[in-house]
Each structure stands twice: as C-alpha cells, then as structure tokens.
C-alpha cells in the first residue's frame, strides 16, 4: 500500500500547477473565488486557453485531441484545476457530446463537430428531459417523424441548461411508438437556429436564468444528424450518462471550498466576529467535514486505482455521485451558516454581490440554494441509490 503520489505524478502535478498559475486570467479566478455567476464568454475563453495547451478534452481518444493520461494523472489534473479556482469547461461539450461522437459518430459527424466542440466554436445543450420524463427518461414523448431525408420534430424539452446560448442541441426523440419504451428512441443533433424552435427561460431560486424550456414545432432535422442507429438512441444515451456521472463527485472543488472555509475561520476569528463558543462549534464542524471529505477522497482514489487495473468502476461512480454531491451541499450550507444575517441580502441579478469586499457573504446563500440541484440532475441521488442497490447489492 502506498498512498503518496509517485515522483513522476508529482512532477506532473507541478507542471499542471505552473501552467495554471500562468494561464488562468486573474479576473476569471476572482469570479470563481467570489462564486460569481460565469457567463458563456468566461467559459469559452478559458476552454480555448486550455485547448491551445491540448488540455481541454483530455479524456477523449488521442486521435481526437485527448491525452493518454493515467486515471491518477486525470485525477490530479481535475484537482489542480479546482484548487487553482479554474472554471470547468462546458460539461455538455467536454464530458457528454464529445466522447459520444468519438465513439458513435459517423466520419462526417466527427469531421464536422469534434474539433469545433473541443474549442467551443459550437456551444452544445442537452435535450433529454421532458415535463413528463425526468428520472423516467425512457418515457419521453417528443416525436421525430421521418419525412424523406429529414426528421420532423414536435413536442417539448425542459430544464435545458444554457439553451439560450446554445448553437446546437443533442437530444433524444421518439421515432417509434410500437415496441418497448427504450427501443423507439433516437439520438439527434440539431442546429438551434432551425425554424420552429422556441426557447423560454426558467428562473431558479438562486435568481439565475440557466434552465429553459425548449419547444419544437415542425422542426426539420436532416437524417445525417442521427447519431448511432435509428431507434437505438438509448444505448448512446446510457453511454453519455455514464460519462456525465464520472466527474460529478468533484472532490477538488470540495477541497477548494474547505480551504476557503478555513480561511474564513481564520479571518472571522482574527476580527472578533466569532464568539468563543462559536469558534469551538465551527472548529468541530470543520473537523467533521474534513473527516468525511478525506474518506471520500480516498474512496475516489481507490476507484481511480481500480480503474487503472481495469476494475469495474461503474457502480462506484454512483457512490461517488451521491456522497460527492452531499459533500458539496454541506460545504455551501456551512458557508451560509457562517454568513448569518449579514448574508440575507440577495445579490443583484447577474451575480453582482452587494458589497465587493464581502463577496463571500453575499454569495453564500444563493450558492447554497443553487447547489441543491446537484443531487437532482445527472440522475437524482435516489436513482443512484437504486442503481447501487441493484448492481452492487443484487436487490
């Protein structure tokens, strides 16, 4: 047993560190520190910097721009990104549609989309969920009816994150009603400027506009935009959802938040804003969180190591998703508790905090509210537990 990184891994970490120190623009870093809302421009700008270094899509196959890193190197990279306050790239581009096209795309689709996706010349959104089909995704109804060399789409998607900025959508549509639910679903790519598409924003409780409803009214999509076989979109989607889940524990992010909490503890102690008793309570809570985070981190590393030896990491991804998201939520809850009544004021729309010197205070509560979503999307934590019960426990 050896829990330390090897010298080669440490050298790799230092290389990542020094790159991030030089390449991450200060204003972006500050936004991340303040928990300010990142705009499309912010994410595009950063992903292009990473892409220029060859690090935007590291887990794609090497022929499409990926890096042949070991699972441990990948882990180190993710952690260093989070600790440096670097934004994540667009998950829809990097973790979802990119890998799917690498695997299922036609040569023409690869040619047309992959490089543009890595560089976010195309901004993607994910059209899976519908009002009646959330956890039960296979019950989706939005139809794609073949008409010559086009599909004609009618129906509605919901919760489509960033659809207002998207150039393209990848989505699931029903091409057949006759067999088992899963069988009549097809995976299509569509240009968001196609006539007949309406995007309507949904405001969330943190005051932001990230989610949308998308309506389809006789939207014509060329048949060449089908990914995989007609009616076999479910296989493509399952592959994609597996990828969506794998990065979702975000230990690096929780570590970064923990270090922020420690800094806050020191700051509030020094300024006398914490009464003696409060200091003890806070210290205990932070220690408890550290215990849980350390356990989660080592569990993730065990999964990473098992992955390196070709072990089955799939159901483990569900464990990491549940525990990782609970950890992220606990962190934001602690910051909100610390802000207390001073954190009551809601930042103005667009994420400006009320008082720039007190950025963390103003951002604390909205961040806590918005983080409630991580246990809902990407397959809710209840659904993850169902998966664990079925695949690991055989229940």
């Amino acid at each position: 047993m050896q829990l330390d990184f090897t010298p080669a891994e440490i050298a790799f970490r230092d290389e990542v560190r020094s790159f991030l120190r030089d390449a991450l623009p200060d204003d972006l870093r500050q936004k991340m520190v303040d928990r300010a809302h990142l705009g499309k421009d912010d994410i595009v700008r950063w992903q292009r910097i990473l892409n220029a270094r060859g690090w935007a899509v590291t887990h794609w196959p090497a022929e499409y721009g990926g890096q042949q890193w070991t699972p441990t190197e990948r882990y180190i990279f993710q952690e260093e990104m989070a600790l440096a306050h670097a934004p994540e790239g667009s998950p829809f581009n990097v973790n979802m549609i990119g890998p799917v096209l690498c695997r299922f795309g036609t040569p023409a689709q690869k040619e047309r989309f992959l490089a543009a996706t890595a560089n976010i010349d195309i901004w993607w959104c994910q059209g899976f969920s519908e009002p009646g089909a959330g956890s039960d995704l296979a019950s989706l109804k939005t139809s794609a009816v073949r008409d010559g060399d086009h599909y004609v789409l009618n129906g509605q998607k919901i919760w489509t994150t960033q659809a207002q900025h998207a150039d393209w959508m990848f989505g699931l549509f029903r091409t057949d009603n006759s067999g088992k639910q899963q069988q009549g679903i097809s995976f299509l790519l569509l240009d968001m400027r196609t006539p007949g598409i309406t995007v309507r924003p949904i405001e969330t409780i943190d005051g932001e506009h990230d989610a949308n409803e998308v309506f389809f009214d006789d939207v014509r999509v060329p048949v060449e935009n089908l990914v995989g076989e007609e009616g076999r979109g479910w296989d493509v989607a399952k592959n994609l959802l597996g990828n969506e889940r794998s990065g979702i524990a975000r230990i690096g992010l929780s570590k970064e938040r923990l270090s922020q909490l420690r800094a806050l503890e020191a700051q509030l102690t020094a300024s006398g804003e914490l009464a003696e008793e409060e200091r003890h309570v806070l210290a205990r809570k932070l220690a408890e969180v550290e215990v849980d985070l350390r356990a989660l981190e080592l569990t993730q590393l065990r999964v990473v190591a098992a992955d390196a030896h070709g072990g089955g990491a799939n159901a483990a991804a569900s464990i990491l998703k549940v525990k990782g998201t609970e950890m992220q939520q606990r962190m934001t809850e602690l910051v909100t508790e610390l802000a207390g009544p001073a954190g009551l004021a809601m930042p103005q729309a667009g994420g400006r905090t009320n008082d720039p010197d007190e950025g963390w205070v103003g951002a604390a509560a909205p961040f806590y509210f918005t983080m409630r979503k991580v246990s809902i999307f990407g397959g809710s934590n209840e659904i993850q537990k169902n998966i664990i019960a079925k695949t690991l426990l055989g229940l």
Binding site: S139, I205, G272, P341, L344, A365, F369, K373, S380
Partner: protein
C-alpha cells in the same frame, strides 16, 4: 394539561388562515414581490382591518392585549402564506421594543399609526463585524447638549426601506441603549436590498444623526436587556412562522408525491420517498409542539423562558432544513424554480434559521443554561 384553543383563539386562527388563503395566494405574493416596495399595502391593510396589527399591544394603547398563543396562530398563517409584509418587523420586533420599554408619550405618538397599518417600523440592530447573534452594538451614541448624536452602520434591517421610524441600538457610556430615529432625519442613509427570502432589507448609515432627549427608549444602558426580552418573543413568533411554512411545504410535497407520475406510477409509491415524507411529518409535529411550548412560555420566569425559547428555535432550525431540503429534492428540478412555492418556502426557512440566533447559537445558549429541563431541585 390542556392543548385546546379557546373559542376566541379558534376563531382567530380560522379567520386569519382564511384571510391569507383567500387574499394571498402564490401569484399575489409574486405580484407583491415585484412591486417597488416589495410588499403589498393592500394585504397589510387587511391585517389592520382585522385588528391583527394591535394584537400584542395593551388595550390602553389601543391594542387587543393578546398573548403568545394568539401571536403563534397569526404567525403560523403568515408562514403558510410566506407573507413578506412588515408584520414581524413592525409589530413583533420594533413594536415589541416600544411595547416593553417605550414611554407613554412615545407609545401614544406611534402605536395608533402602527395599529391602523399606516406606520411602518423597523429594528436596526445587527452590525457588520460583530458576532452574528450578539446583543452588543458599536454604533456610537454621544450625549450632546440635552440630546444625542449617533454614528455608525447597521445591516440586515428588515423592512428598513419602508419604515417611518427606526428603533436603533447604540452604545452610550452606560451601555447598549435604544433610540427612535426618523427615517428622514438628517444624516440617515438607507440602502435597500432584497433578502434571498424575498423580504426587503436595508443597511443603514448614521452620520452625526442628532436626536432629542425624548428619542431614548427606556433608560440609558437598558437596551441589551430590552432586546433580549423582545428577541425571545420574536423568536417564538419566528418558530410559529416556521411551522406554518413547514406545514405548507409538507402539504404541497405530499400532494406532489401523490400526483407526479414516473415509471408508470405515482412517485409516492416508492418506499425510498415514503419514509422520508414520514420523517418530514414527524419533524413538523415536533416543531408544532415546540411552537406551543415557546408561545406559552413568554410570561414565565426568565430562566425557564430562555430555555424553552432557545430549545424551540434550535429545533425548528433543524426541522426547517430537513423539510425544506427534502421538499426541494422530492420535487426534482421543479423544486428549484422560482415559479414554484416550495423553493421559496425553503429559502424562508433558511432565513428564519439565520435570524435572531441560528441552531448552533441556541444550542450553545442551552449549554450555558445547562440544558432544557429545569435543574433538579
């Protein structure tokens, strides 16, 4: 033991619950939130018409002389409707200070307007840089001539923007003292914001604000004691409001569990959710018990009163979180949209925990008081 309400109390509860249900549905609340002031004069006026704004005030001040139980019933209805109107700020907080400590002249000058719904009050106590739930103040009160001058900064002043009169805590030579400040007095600057729970709040800058001697409430240096007492009543009211918000959240969630279909069945048929809904119900009932305890404790001996109120506030801090978080989670994505009530209830429950001492604060207070139960004789 008797947990029954009197006939009058039952009637009060029914009328105020009906008033809120009929005149303050979610759309009307949204509408109020979007207005300039962020709350509805009309809804507030209907409270005045029912005499609710006079509830805790003495009959000789034009009030009704109601007690903790009456306040609990009204606040529960306020919580059910997630009302953002200044009832708590005006009647319970600042009004509580006036009721407990103001001179007859001060009461006569201000309370009739309060009871009629024409006058809005706010309490400015929290300050940046002080421990979060402290009774201290750093705003400076200096004797000048036969009056006072105030200097300093306040935050989280609930409904500060709409207030006609502010009750401001400040530190004089004698200790923390309370003052009446007119909102348009020279040197007073109010910056308005919205709380994440929708309720308007403000910060307050006081620069050389000159006050007459008659602005002092109670005696010089008595402020912390007055506030401690008023905060106990206010906490009992917040606990009741939380119970209302939790009850509403629970009802909405239960309804959703019965109607939302996934995998060809109502999601409420999944045992994983059933047990959690049961836990929510149990937390709600425990909270209700503690709201009753707090409400009937307001006039008992101070030591036990403090224990009971802190126990109640600590408990609802926890159950508010459980119920709020579970309601959002069990609704799935719809739970975190601002078009849907449970997300707002979750936010209000979060704010209630943060106000006047959160769960940790009240648990620590109970540690200092050596527990909830009276010491064995």
């Amino acid at each position: 033991m008797d947990f029954e309400l009197t006939d009058e109390q039952t009637m009060l509860s029914e009328t105020v619950t009906r008033l809120v249900a009929e005149s303050y549905d979610f759309q009307q609340r949204e509408h109020a939130l979007r207005s300039d002031t962020g709350w509805s004069r009309e809804a507030y006026a209907s409270f005045a018409e029912m005499g609710l704004l006079g509830l805790p005030f003495a009959e000789e001040d034009g009030g009704i002389g109601g007690g903790g139980v009456e306040m609990m019933l009204v606040m529960e209805a306020v919580g059910r409707g997630l009302m953002v109107e200044p009832f708590f700020a005006t009647v319970v907080l600042a009004g509580g200070v006036l009721r407990r400590a103001a001179s007859a002249a001060q009461r006569a000058a201000i309370l009739p307007g309060v009871i009629a719904g024409d006058t809005i009050l706010a309490l400015a106590h929290s300050e940046p840089g002080l421990p979060r739930h402290s009774l201290d103040a750093r705003v400076v009160a200096r004797h000048t001539g036969d009056g006072w001058t105030l200097d300093g900064h306040k935050i989280a002043v609930i409904h500060g923007q709409s207030a006609d009169h502010l009750v401001v805590s400040a530190l004089s030579d004698a200790g923390v003292s309370l003052f009446l400040v007119e909102r348009d007095a020279p040197g007073v600057t109010i910056s308005a914001a919205r709380g994440y729970d929708g309720i308007p709040i403000a910060s307050l800058a006081l620069a050389d604000v000159g006050l007459p001697a008659s602005a002092l409430i109670g005696s010089d240096g008595e402020g912390a004691a007055i506030l401690e007492r008023v905060f106990e009543e206010a906490n009992a009211a917040l606990v009741a409001e939380a119970v209302g918000a939790m009850a509403e959240t629970f009802d909405v969630t239960l309804d959703y569990l019965k109607t939302r279909q996934q995998f060809g069945t109502a999601i409420g048929s999944f045992q994983a959710l059933q047990h959690r809904a049961v836990e929510m119900l149990m937390q709600l009932e425990l909270s209700r018990s503690m709201a009753i305890l707090a409400a009937v404790s307001l006039d008992i001996d101070p030591g036990q009163r403090a224990r009971n109120v802190s126990a109640a506030k600590a408990l609802i801090g926890k159950s508010g979180r459980i119920i709020g978080q579970e309601a959002v989670q069990m609704h799935g994505a719809i739970g975190i949209t601002s078009e849907y009530k449970v997300g707002h209830a979750f936010k209000r429950l979060t704010a209630i925990d943060a106000l006047l001492g959160d769960r940790d604060f009240h648990i620590s207070r109970l540690v200092a008081l050596r527990g909830v139960y009276p010491a064995a004789a």
